[in-house]
Amino acid sequence: MTERLARPVVEVADLSFRYSRRREDALSGVEFTICGTEWLGLLGPNGGGKTTLLRLLLGQLAPRTGSIEVFGGPPTKTRRRMGYVPQHASIDSSVPASVEDVVLLGRLTKSSWGPRYPQRDLDLALAALEETHTADLAGRAWRTLSGGQRQRVLIARALASQADLLLLDEPTTGIDIHREKELLRLLERLNDRLPILMVSHDIALVSHHMDRALWVDRTVREIDARNLDSDSLESFFHGEHS
């Protein structure tokens, strides 16, 4: 039991990935682990492979070589235990849907048939909205929410799925400083019980909230997030760290 508990949440070994019809690997030699309730940042230049790495972890892409284990199994088998929070733009705002409809997507399963969700799913969705302090928005139309509200609701959706790991793709993009602080307080609270892997371009955010980060630029390099500043980041951009 102890051994099972001590097992890393995410274990990536000698991973490489190449998109079809490309001559070069998008990622290669990737190795890292996430243990316990770690909050890990993913930093790197645009096109460096951050989103590709997230998609590999979610099982949407298959590695060319190497292995990925999440909760001790391949991502395609365990991704239901992962709560993915995309940038809020991924939800189609033109669809007439309430906040509750969006959160209930986290309760969708292969056996979801019929027009309505069972009461248990409705209860879990409401509990997730309460945990993210958005229960008062449940009946509101998704398209009327601000960027900050949308991010909190998407986190509620991940929580409604009873996720054991949160994967966030630039959750603070496009929201004001006040809402960003609220969002980070929420993530801090959730991090007491959940490991978080978060893509971010914000050095201050990463150095303040995380001990460790991964620099993703075709390969992955582990960096000490606590001492991160703009100068050290600049040197990473120019590949001066080895």
Binding site: L58, Q60, R79, R80, M82, Y84, P86, S90, I91, D92, S94, V95, P96, A97, S98, D101, V102, L105, G106, L108, T109, K110, S112, W113, G114, P115, R116, Y117, R140, A141, W142, R157, S161
Partner: protein
């Protein structure tokens, strides 16, 4: 308007036309919001035009081989062609990443060409194609009504069973996939529903105008509602209204009822758009 009700007492076709409009409104109300929110109108248009190939085949077979295919109505051929091409279009939508419109446009043109070719080589003169193209709401038979009712029943049943999955695809297909929903298979079912609805609506306003009836009531419904379920109810209401009142209003005038239906729908849509714009100011 009075003349409509006076004549309706002795002409059952007038009531059949209204009943057909109401039946078509059910499919339109359910499927229209999915089509509009998923931005599938071009693909729905392709389904309608590819169906001409099936209409042509049905006319050809029933004329040239009446002993085997005498029972075949043009609408049966149209439905078969639309149902066969629906999964093909769904697969293309998922697999073709570039120039999807070119590929779909080619299928659209090929379907129409096959239909026109088959009708051209069929002996005799055939008015069925005209009623398929421009609608024939004034001559809906009892048999047509039974066909429409059956098709509407199937659409209701499937949409009820699949509603949560369809909504998930409308909102966030990536999340649906991550939650284990087979996105392509679900889209194939949705495309089959669209195909059935296109054929139902073709019976009312004809192929030329079918896209207007599939899109405009749903555009109104999705604008006026904050959830997909209620937007279907509004879409049904709008469809029922526009397939009934304009038909009665232009009765006895030279105005085509099919054109009146579409123009009334477009007018209502513009009214809703401008009303909402002025509310937002």
């Amino acid at each position: 308007m009075n003349q409509f009700f006076t004549d309706a007492a002795v002409n059952p076709f007038l009531w059949s036309g209204l009943a057909a409009g109401l039946l078509a409104s059910i499919s339109c109300g359910i499927v229209g919001p999915y089509v509009v929110t998923r931005r599938l109108l071009f693909l729905a248009g392709a389904l309608a035009h590819i169906a001409i190939g099936g209409v042509g085949a049905a006319i050809y077979l029933s004329t040239v081989h009446p002993s085997f295919f005498g029972w075949l109505e043009p609408i049966h051929g149209g439905l078969a062609a639309a149902l066969i091409s629906a999964p093909v279009l769904a697969v293309l939508k998922h697999r073709v990443k570039e120039r999807l419109d070119t590929v779909v446009g080619a299928l659209w043109a090929v379907g129409m060409s096959v239909g026109i070719l088959l009708i051209k080589i069929t002996p005799g003169y055939h008015t069925e194609l005209m009623s398929y193209l421009f609608g024939n709401i004034s001559f809906v038979t009892r048999r047509d009504l039974v066909f429409l009712a059956l098709l509407s029943g199937v659409v209701i049943l499937i949409a009820t069973v699949f509603h949560r999955r369809f909504l998930a695809l409308c909102l966030d297909s990536e999340q649906a996939e991550l939650r284990g929903i087979p996105v392509l298979a679900t889209d194939i079912v949705l495309f089959l529903l669209i195909a059935a609805t296109v054929i139902v609506l073709t019976q009312i306003v004809g192929l030329i105008l079918v896209i207007a009836l599939l899109s405009l009531p749903a555009a109104i419904g999705t604008r006026l509602s904050t959830r997909l379920g209620p937007s279907m109810a509004v879409t049904f209401g709008v469809s029922a209204l526009v397939t009934t009142l304009p038909r009665i209003a232009v009765y006895g005038t030279p105005i085509s009822p099919e054109a009146a239906i579409v123009l009334a729908t477009a007018g209502l849509y513009l009214l809703v758009v401008f009303r909402r714009r002025s509310d937002e100011r």
